[in-house]
């Protein structure tokens, strides 16, 4: 390992926030409230933006950037007191409730699968696969994920495709082996299921 990373990894003693599963991120709120909250916002902002866009277009068309972003701010503001109050493992369920409160059920339905898919992905062990998957889902997946990730991580399109394929396989393995049926049902409102 290069020296700089050595120093970084050795002294920091804590896993970098952007690598933490959601429940551990909620736990870190105790010692690093602003940083943990900022990381949470960073992960969720695009999907919440899409839900808010869907809501504003239905409620007050046409939607302007300012209107949509104001609804995003309201969602996070509504949720903030609940970020660290309650079971850390239920943080996504609490946030989903805030999205439904401020927007509505239909708005959440527009993002629900991609939203809850983020829960297990931080358990993918391979760093590169996890980085690609987390970036993908933070971007809402999108119509051209391989090309987007190739550009973002400066790899070839073929390389990006390979990493995403491997990552999706690893993510399914995590879903099959790292969670029980009951845990998945409870933590993802039954949106993520094991296949076997």
């Amino acid at each position: 390992m290069p020296l700089f990373q050595t120093i970084y990894e050795m002294f920091k003693r804590k896993t970098s926030l952007d690598r933490l599963p959601f429940e551990e991120l909620a736990e870190r709120y105790e010692s690093e409230p602003v940083a943990a909250f900022e990381e949470f916002v960073r992960r969720m902002k695009l999907l919440v933006f899409q839900a808010a866009l869907d809501f504003v277009r239905r409620a007050h068309p046409p939607a302007s950037d300012a209107e949509v972003e104001e609804m995003v701010l309201k969602v996070f503001e509504d949720f903030t007191p609940e970020f660290a109050s309650g079971e850390p493992s239920m943080v996504l369920v609490r946030f989903a409730a805030a999205i439904r409160r401020v927007l509505d059920d239909d708005a959440f339905e527009a993002i629900a699968t991609r939203y809850y898919r983020q829960l297990p992905l931080y358990y993918v062990k391979d760093d590169q696969q996890r980085r690609f998957l987390s970036a993908l889902y933070q971007d809402g997946v999108g119509p051209t994920p391989a090309e987007d990730m190739a550009q973002r991580f400066q790899v070839t399109d073929d390389e990006a495709r390979r990493i995403i394929r491997d990552g999706n396989r690893s993510l399914q393995d995590v879903i099959e082996s790292d969670f029980t049926e009951d845990e998945l049902r409870e933590m993802t409102e039954d949106r993520i299921r094991r296949r076997h």
Binding site: L3, F4, K12, P143
Partner: protein, 311 residues
């Protein structure tokens, strides 16, 4: 989204429910608009009053510094005590409480105390700064230095080396901060972090406006000792991403040239040593950065007494 795109998502191994949701989102135009680049910062600002106002946990670092104190003193006390000090520092580092996974990593990192202290040895023998750094605000967000425990730890390591250097009458590390072109692209947290860095630094710090930074406009550079160079280019979403992208190599001629180049850039920068005691609040840091960007005369240019490689 066309069926061909659905096929592409299938080919990439996405499950059917993700594909169908993405297709629906595309059809409803949910990818047509994107959030503003500063939405995260604005959200944090908006919700700040609801966030628990706990102090950042500095206790760990205070504890680390106390543990390292005897080793620093031993090393600084005698030019012949290097090996003994390295051994003591190694023991002190091992005594630090750390998570199990980090400890496992540590076992493989016996080189760390030796490498890091080699920087101090270099400084003492060559009478040069132990390290020179370009800290580019366009590459690493200033606020990360305040909340990211890894970056704070790096600062601690700098402090250890600076202490050794200063006790041996050698100038400490030189840090050239490259500012962003626009003052409005900084957040309050950024200014708070800059204030903390400037106010508590053991290194000598200079600030340079973006348009004066030349080759350093888009990169972070660290030159450790005589030959180790670390470079980082690009913009990153998090400290973890940034550290993964650091490129590190050993090359004494490149390192020497970089020391000269950074030193030359420093001559066009504003030295902050005399301003340390005046940077108390985030507003002070904002004024300072604004003055440097606008080249107001309120801050003095780098004085000859702060020459970058003065011994």
């Amino acid at each position: 989204m066309q069926n061909t795109s659905e096929e592409k998502l299938r080919d990439l191994g996405f499950p059917e429910e993700v594909i169908q949701e993405t297709v629906r989102a595309e059809k409803r135009g949910l990818f047509d608009m994107e959030p503003s680049p500063d939405l995260v910062e604005r959200t944090v600002e908006r919700c700040r009053y609801l966030l628990r106002s706990l102090p950042l946990a500095d206790e760990i670092h205070v504890e680390q510094e106390k543990l390292l104190e005897p080793a620093i003193k031993a090393f600084a006390g005698s030019v012949f005590a290097a090996q003994k000090a390295e051994a003591e520092l190694s023991q002190a580092l091992k005594a630090l409480p750390m998570a199990a996974d980090t400890r496992a990593e540590f076992v493989r990192m016996e080189r760390l105390p030796v490498d890091w202290l080699a920087t101090a040895t270099f400084a003492r023998q060559k009478r040069l700064r132990p390290l020179m750094m370009v800290d580019n605000h366009n590459v690493i967000n200033p606020a990360w230095w305040d909340f990211d425990s890894g970056l704070r730890a790096f600062r601690l390591a700098c402090r250890v080396v600076n202490t050794i250097a200063q006790q041996n009458g050698v100038p400490p590390a030189a840090v050239l901060m490259v500012l962003r072109p626009d003052i409005d692209s900084y957040t309050q947290d950024d200014f708070a972090a800059i204030g903390n860095l400037v106010g508590s630094a053991t290194s000598d710090i200079w600030m340079i406006p973006y348009d004066k930074a030349g080759e350093y406009q888009d990169q972070d550079v660290i030159v450790l000792g005589q030959e180790r160079v670390m470079r980082l280019r690009g913009a990153f979403a998090s400290p973890g991403d940034a550290f993964d992208a650091f490129r590190e190599f050993d090359n004494s001629s490149i390192a020497t040239q970089l020391r000269i180049n950074i030193g030359q850039s420093i001559r066009h920068a504003v030295g902050l040593k005399h301003l340390r005691s005046r940077i108390r609040r985030w507003e002070d840091a904002r004024t300072l950065v604004d003055n440097v960007i606008r080249r107001r005369p309120a801050v003095q240019p780098a004085a000859s007494s702060q020459l970058p490689e003065s011994s």
